[in-house]
Amino acid sequence: MKSAAFRGTFLLALLLFLVPLFLGRFHVNLLTEIIIFALFGVSYNLLLGYGNLLSFGHAMFFGLGAYATAVALNNISGLGFFPAVILGTACATLAGFLVGFLILRQKGASFALLTLAFNALFYAMAIKFTFITRGDDGLSLQRPNINLGFFSLDTSDVVVFYFITLVIVGSVILFSWFFTNTAMGKTIVLMRENEDRMKFLGFSTNITRLSLFTLTGGLAGLAGSFYALFFNFVSVDAISIGMTTTVLLITFVGGSGSFTGPILGAFIYIYLQNFLSDVTDRWQLFMGLVFIFMVLFVPGGFSKLLEEVSLRWRVFREARAKTSTAGG
């Protein structure tokens, strides 16, 4: 089982590295966006799928990462690519810790409510603190080149930026996958199943939950930081309730039951969004309807659907093999 997962990951990585050879700039650009949103979705799913913590405020970390990167690049001259990303991630991690510290003692509905309230606070700050964020106008930024000593990478090139995103964001997604298999990752799943028992066994569930919240904040911040670099622009959209809806859509279209669900979700979401926004100006409305449809009729998302289809197929094939041997 494990080797199959490794083989699948390896093949996917290989495919992603080779893709720019035979796809145009347009699709490479979309793939870059997909990888960024996949990390955003994965970080959200660590919270919801693994930790069973329903948050309606994940966009605050994403947006904070984006803003921190953009503000740092605009105000610190000569700041490199990686320091800017690290700064954005660090800000989001810190915010994750502080917000988590305040609200994690709440459970269920009131936790969801508080995450939304804090997201609204960050959104209001992004609009009101115009001297940092330029409010509704948004912040544009210049993507810095990466100097590796002997040669420098021209990040303004679509393919180069794709590879940078693939290597960095891709390996962070792999790290998250690795994390779910560590002792702490297992603890989180077990806490979801039976928290009281974990407490009796001597696990400090509050600290574990806060660590998870801080980690997912940081991961979302990294995704946000790349989002800012990808668009060379940050607006209040990045920190709005709409962005939280986006991550919810990604997670639920893909499926919150498995690690790969949100990655599949990001793929579907970006291509669907691209298609719908060509067809109609009201694509957000249709996205909302898709979301409600998924919640009502396909609560497990597409990954669950695929799983069921493949299971049915296997059962069907085995049944047919049995009848053919019985007949022959």
């Binding site: 919801l48 069973n52 329903l54 309606f56 305040l102 609200i103 003692r105 709440q106 269920g108 509905a109 009131s110 969801a112 409510l113 508080l114 939304l116 309230a117 804090f118 609204a120 606070l121 209001a124 009101k128 309730i241 709409g242 809806t245 919810l248 639920f252 009201r282 957000q284 409305l285 909302g288 309807l289 979301f291 409600i292 919640v295 009502l296 609560p299």
Partner: protein, 286 residues
């Protein structure tokens, strides 16, 4: 001194609106254990329905009846055909559904009415001002506050003095037991959800002329209503009254004293309540 009085009255007006929105939210939560993230969009829809009704009939009193009635039906339909379906899937899916509905309703409003703020004019004696303790104050704001007080008193009378009220309070405590006693709980839930939506829509109708009607108006009051519920305690009507009054005043004087940071005061209050008394001022300790 005069400005303090004016800001105090402004605070009362806003507290009235907040109470109307948050009491419905709190009632639905107390009973069905569903936190309705679409609640404030009912408020926004109320304001937009009233705008359209005013444009066609030019009768404010009519819109004050018709818009909440429409929202009662919308709310009841949402409960009957959407929320009840996902109930079996669990709590997370119920919250997700209401969150998705809020998004879709907001997008629909942008589609139908556009994104520009729409002014709702008021006419007749409501548009005038009166002399109150030496200051001139618009009649409409007094109307908003007194209407919310009236609705609040009516709600308390229904909840504590009628048979229906006993059933509702019983269902808040233990809906299974109420069902076992022969009350049709699903229909009751549908009616309460519709009533909450109507109450929120009613608040929207009276808020329309006061604050302009725009697609973000729901989000603006939703957060304040959430803070009211956190501070007052989930599912407590008395808590909603007290917290609405506190937050109305905080909003009003916050703008007067620290214009840029008025929002911070509310969050500060919320943070203090969360740390000192996580279940809210009037919430049951769990």
């Amino acid at each position: 001194m005069k400005s303090i009085l004016i800001f105090f009255l402004h605070g009362l007006t806003y507290a009235g609106l907040l109470f109307l929105v948050s009491s419905g939210l709190s009632l639905v939560f107390g009973m069905m254990n569903v936190l309705n993230f679409a609640h404030a969009t009912f408020y926004m829809l109320g304001a937009y329905f009233s705008y359209s009704l005013l444009r066609t009939t030019n009768n404010f009193w009519l819109s004050l009846v018709v818009a909440p009635a429409l929202l009662f039906f919308i709310g009841a339909l949402v409960e009957r055909f959407l929320l009840r379906r996902v109930h079996v899937l669990g709590h997370v899916h119920e919250l997700l559904l209401t969150f998705g509905l809020a998004y879709v309703f907001t997008e629909l409003v942008k589609w139908v009415w556009g994104t520009n703020p729409l002014p709702v004019p008021i006419t007749g004696f409501l548009a005038q001002s009166v002399n109150l303790f030496g200051i001139t104050y618009p009649v409409y704001r007094i109307f908003v506050f007194s209407t919310s007080v009236l609705v609040g008193i009516l709600m308390i009378l229904i909840l504590y003095k009628t048979r229906l009220g006993i059933i509702i309070r019983g269902a808040v405590d233990d809906s299974d037991m109420v069902g076992a006693l022969g009350i049709n709980v699903p229909t009751l839930f549908m009616a309460i959800f519709g009533f909450g939506a109507a109450l929120s829509g009613f608040a929207g109708v009276i808020a329309g002329p006061l604050l302009t009607t725009f697609p973000g108006m729901g989000d603006a009051i939703l957060v304040d209503a959430f803070v009211v519920i956190v501070v007052g305690g989930l599912g407590s009507l008395g808590g909603a009254v007290v917290a609405s009054l506190i937050i109305g005043q905080l909003q009003s004087f916050g703008v007067l004293l620290f214009p840029k940071f008025s929002l911070a005061l509310i969050y500060l209050l919320m943070a203090v309540v969360l740390v000192v008394r996580p279940s809210g001022l009037f919430g049951r300790q769990t």
